[in-house]
């Protein structure tokens, strides 16, 4: 959404008050100061809890800072070289990327399908909206408690359902090749509601003229969906996909509670590795280095997306 910053809106306030226009200059200039007092409280918390930790973290990534020892030494780029050679960094990064792919695709497509269906004007709007959005309101622990029970090997709903259908039970959270998919399914259920609302809001603000014209010309519902509505939603889809990928890359909470990264590290995302190294292994310096490498990756991906997004316009 950073793309839509309206530089145009700033021209008015930015115009220097010293111009010779005279008449309106007095009104332009803020009489009680230049407005910085309004920004000060924010700058204070921003500086303390955003800039400070960013700088501090960067510094720590060049040290052997540890929760166990108060003695900290500068170690140069050692942490970074170690991270590049650390197979756990690469495998957890791989897990993060894999999760991002298998969760983002359905999170965009299912949300779109839901919004189109709800928007199509069938009765009971509020009930559909509630069903799809309600999970988004749940705290992560509640979501994982419910799904741990759904995925429970013997008594859980998933395997009982398979049993009723005469199929073999699946180790939803214990099978290395299945666990990440189970996590992704949970995530889609939990967070699709937000994307759904973004799409719904977009659909409600679309001009209906093209749709009406096409309908008058005898275009069927299916054809109008493909040729008019979906193309009109391209910008929204770009935005939703961009936000979703960034959100998926940051996955940690649900995995940490659901599987602790297991079985055998197969679901451990890079941010959990940072947590494990920093808070369980006490190596804050190394954890900082890994999180900065990850941040660099996020920035890189954002820039690429931003470029694509801009070109689309």
């Amino acid at each position: 959404m950073t793309t839509t910053a309206p530089p145009g809106a700033e021209e008015q306030t930015d115009a220097p008050a010293a111009d010779a226009g005279g008449r309106r200059t007095a009104a332009r200039r803020i009489p009680t100061g230049n407005g910085i007092v309004f920004v000060l409280p924010f700058l204070l918390v921003f500086g303390l809890f955003m800039v400070w930790p960013i700088v501090q973290g960067l510094w720590m990534s060049f040290t052997d800072s540890s929760l166990a020892l108060r003695d900290t030494n500068f170690v140069g780029l050692d942490n970074y070289t170690e991270a590049f050679g650390d197979p756990d960094v690469w495998s957890s990064l791989g897990n993060t990327v894999f999760f991002t792919v298998i969760s983002s695709v359905p999170l965009v497509l299912v949300a779109l399908a839901m919004a189109l269906l709800v928007h199509s004007g069938l009765a009971g709007q509020w009930a559909w909206r509630l069903s799809f959005f309600a999970p988004y309101l749940l705290p992560v622990t509640v979501v994982t408690m419910i799904w741990t029970w759904l995925y429970q090997p013997e008594l859980g709903m998933a395997n009982q359902l398979l049993d009723t259908l005469g199929m073999e039970p699946v180790g939803w959270l214990s099978d290395e090749s299945v666990a990440m998919w189970s996590v992704a399914a949970l995530t889609v259920w939990w967070t699709v509601g937000f994307n759904f609302l973004l799409y719904l809001a977009a659909l409600q603000s679309l001009p209906t003229t093209f749709d009406e014209a096409a309908a008058l010309d005898g275009a069927g519902a299916w054809r109008r969906l493909w040729s008019i509505t979906l193309p009109q939603l391209r910008r929204t889809t770009g935005l939703v996909a961009m936000l979703q990928i960034l959100a998926s890359l940051k996955v940690f909470d649900q995995i940490y509670i659901l599987t602790k990264g297991g079985p055998n590290g197969s679901t451990r995302p890079v941010l959990e590795y940072v947590y494990d190294v920093g808070f369980t292994g006490y190596r804050l310096g190394y954890a900082s280095a890994v999180s900065y490498l990850f941040f660099a990756l996020v920035v890189l991906i954002s820039l690429v997306q931003f470029r694509l997004f801009r070109r689309e316009d």
Binding site: L137, P139, V142, A201, G278
Partner: protein, 299 residues
């Protein structure tokens, strides 16, 4: 309730929450039936986990373990809820969650609204640069800050306090950006009249701009509240004292202690889920519209 102020920014939003566009489906029977079926199937899939949790929570542990749940043979009982409430932790955590999410929302909204106004109307030096830094900060994943923030809290001796949970959460560059965009679109004529009459800048903000911005402030408040209520990683790291934990953190710590007590596990999950679901039922239209208002959706 929003009717007074939305027109300022309104795009072409339908006046009432529209019943969708019937055009999308046309008048054919078949597409309508297909869409209806698909919608029902999706809704059922989305509701089943809730239903499963509810059904589990009102049975006894023995029934669940002996007969299994399929197809819900056990007798109805509220034992699980009673046990949870007697243990008392859940109510302490719920109180903490309300207190913490409430304070985070209050502070964030006040600080961000003021800042957004300053960025929108201010003429101070470095305004553009500061704004650019703020916007760039939207990209920073909060998890990046966790390790150094924890060190900082150790330094301030704040670990295991409400302050430590609350303070780092009040920095919301995204909200500043959303609010600033809104203020930019508020016409300045009204303010100029007041300024000429000698109103102080704060007066202009509080009595002219703020009342016009109620919908966007409400939208921002709702999202900040949901975010703070559900926040997990930071409160989890910075609290060890069970009396200071929020619901998500507290439940995570006892989740394993429940072991195979599924009825109690589901009962506590549902109790923790209830407050926000109720909030949503009350503010449904506000929440749905706020997605559009914040400018995240649409154009």
């Amino acid at each position: 309730m929003s009717a007074t102020a939305t027109p300022l920014r309104a795009r072409r939003r339908p006046p009432r929450e529209a019943a969708g566009s019937p055009l999308l489906l046309g008048h054919g029977r078949l597409p309508r039936a297909l869409a209806g079926t698909a919608l029902v199937v999706l809704a059922v899939v989305w509701l089943v986990p809730f239903l499963w949790a509810v059904v589990t929570s009102v049975q006894s542990e023995e029934d669940i373990n002996t007969t299994g749940l399929w197809p819900f043979k056990g007798a109805f009982t509220l034992d699980a809820y009673q046990q949870i409430l007697e243990r008392g932790n859940v109510s302490v955590w719920a109180f903490n969650s309300f207190l913490i999410a409430g304070l985070v929302t209050l502070i964030t909204v006040v600080v961000s609204t003021l800042a957004a106004y300053g960025f929108s109307r201010g003429t101070f030096r470095g305004r553009r640069a500061l704004l650019a830094v703020t916007v760039a900060a939207i990209m920073v994943p909060p998890q990046l800050l966790v390790v150094p923030l924890f060190e900082q809290m150790l330094l301030f001796n704040l670990v295991d306090t409400y302050a430590a949970v609350i303070l780092p959460q009040v920095v919301a560059p995204m909200m500043v950006f959303i609010l600033k965009r809104f203020f930019d679109a508020v016409p300045k004529e009204l303010e100029e009249a007041a300024r000429i009459d000698g109103a102080s800048e704060f007066r202009v903000f509080a009595s002219i701009v703020l009342p016009l911005s109620r919908p966007i402030v409400a939208a921002v408040s709702i999202f900040v509240f949901i975010g703070a209520w559900n926040n997990f990683m930071w409160p989890f790291i910075v609290t060890n004292d069970p009396d200071l934990m929020t619901l998500p953190v507290g439940l995570a710590t006892v989740k394993d202690a429940y072991g195979i007590e599924y009825a109690q596990s589901m009962a506590s999950a549902l109790l923790a889920a209830l407050p926000l679901i109720v909030v949503f039922l009350f503010f449904q239209r506000r929440i749905v519209n706020s997605v559009a208002t914040t400018g995240l959706g649409g154009s």
